[in-house]
């Protein structure tokens, strides 16, 4: 009987451990998705406005900090006229917990980068 109780306990702990590990993994995937979405929205604004402003950089950084990023660097073309290429380069470091062994987790840091080039649609007369 004690063996069965111990076994049941072990099974429950193991399943809990697997569940936590999987959830941790999905948190990282979700952060990567959010990172790409926010950067894409800024690139769309850049296409329309012909570049990135300091205000847009600050807004993007703040949004990413609010999503759990601990460091964000935003660089982009500040002025491009109609038909010229513009680039947005964002590097973010995301802090998350990763299960490293049975009932043990540690802080990990994942660097995410967004580096895309588009074409300005702003007509400057």
């Amino acid at each position: 009987m004690p063996a069965k109780i111990a076994l049941t306990g072990f099974v429950i702990v193991t399943l809990f451990f697997i569940t936590v590990a999987v959830i941790n993994y999905f948190i990282l995937l979700s952060a990567a998705h959010d990172f790409n979405t926010e950067c894409r929205l800024v690139l769309l604004s850049m296409e329309k406005n012909g570049g990135i402003t300091n205000q847009m950089k600050t807004e993007l950084s703040n949004k990413l900090y609010n999503k759990g990023f601990i460091s964000v660097t935003v660089n982009g073309t500040s002025s491009a006229s109609f038909g010229e290429q513009l680039t947005l380069s964002v590097v973010g470091i995301y802090k998350y917990k990763k299960t490293i062994s049975f009932l043990q987790s540690a802080d990990y840091y994942q660097t995410m980068t967004y580096n895309k080039t588009s074409v300005s649609r702003k007509v400057i007369n």
């Binding site: 076994l7 697997i18 999987v22 993994y25 995937l29 790409n36 080039t117 588009s118 649609r121 702003k122």
Partner: protein, 173 residues
């Protein structure tokens, strides 16, 4: 006798649990995670193709005297290839650079610019009502976890993600 039977039962349960863990739970978790990684990669590629599609409007040529808009096909392909290479981190011949989401040479299967005759249906079945670019790009990616082992056993290296994106062209700025 009863005591022996109970001990055997406990040992059997341990073996059964281990088997369920290795042959059922781990593969299912692995497939779910793998599927999500592929979806994330697919989304990144889709975004890159969308940006490239929109940028290809620079290959349009307009004739003000005739009031028509046409496509310079050579320029279109050149602009498209160059933008796709930049956005997917590829070399000029569309082979991947380091840290590219693509793991092998990328191919442009279809690239069509639609400027008139709307509404119409693109080769992959989407209805287009505005001037648009239709693109189908194949990107080889490598799976991880269990699927990589299965692919290796099948003698294959990559999974080919065929991404179809139709993007509206920004003709009226």
């Amino acid at each position: 006798m009863i005591f022996k039977s109970n001990k055997g039962s406990a040992a059997g349960t341990v073996v059964l649990f281990a088997a369920v863990l290795v042959f059922v739970i781990f593969p299912i978790v692995s497939v779910v995670i793998e599927k999500n990684i592929m979806l994330a990669k697919g989304q990144i590629i889709k975004d890159a193709i969308d940006i490239t599609n929109i940028a290809s409007y620079t290959a349009l040529s307009s004739s003000i005297s005739e009031g028509t808009i046409g496509v310079d096909n050579a320029k279109l392909y050149s602009v498209y290839t160059s933008m796709l290479a930049k956005n997917l981190n590829l070399n000029d011949d569309l082979t991947p650079k380091q840290n590219s989401v693509a793991e092998g040479p990328v191919t442009i299967d279809s690239l069509i610019v639609y400027l008139s005759g709307f509404p119409l249906v693109c080769p992959d079945g989407n209805t287009l009502v505005r001037p648009s670019v239709h693109a189908v790009i194949t990107v080889p990616v490598k799976p991880s976890l269990y699927r990589q082992v299965i692919l290796s056993l099948l003698g294959k290296q990559y999974i080919y993600l065929k991404i179809h994106v139709d993007s509206d062209l920004p003709l009226n700025n």
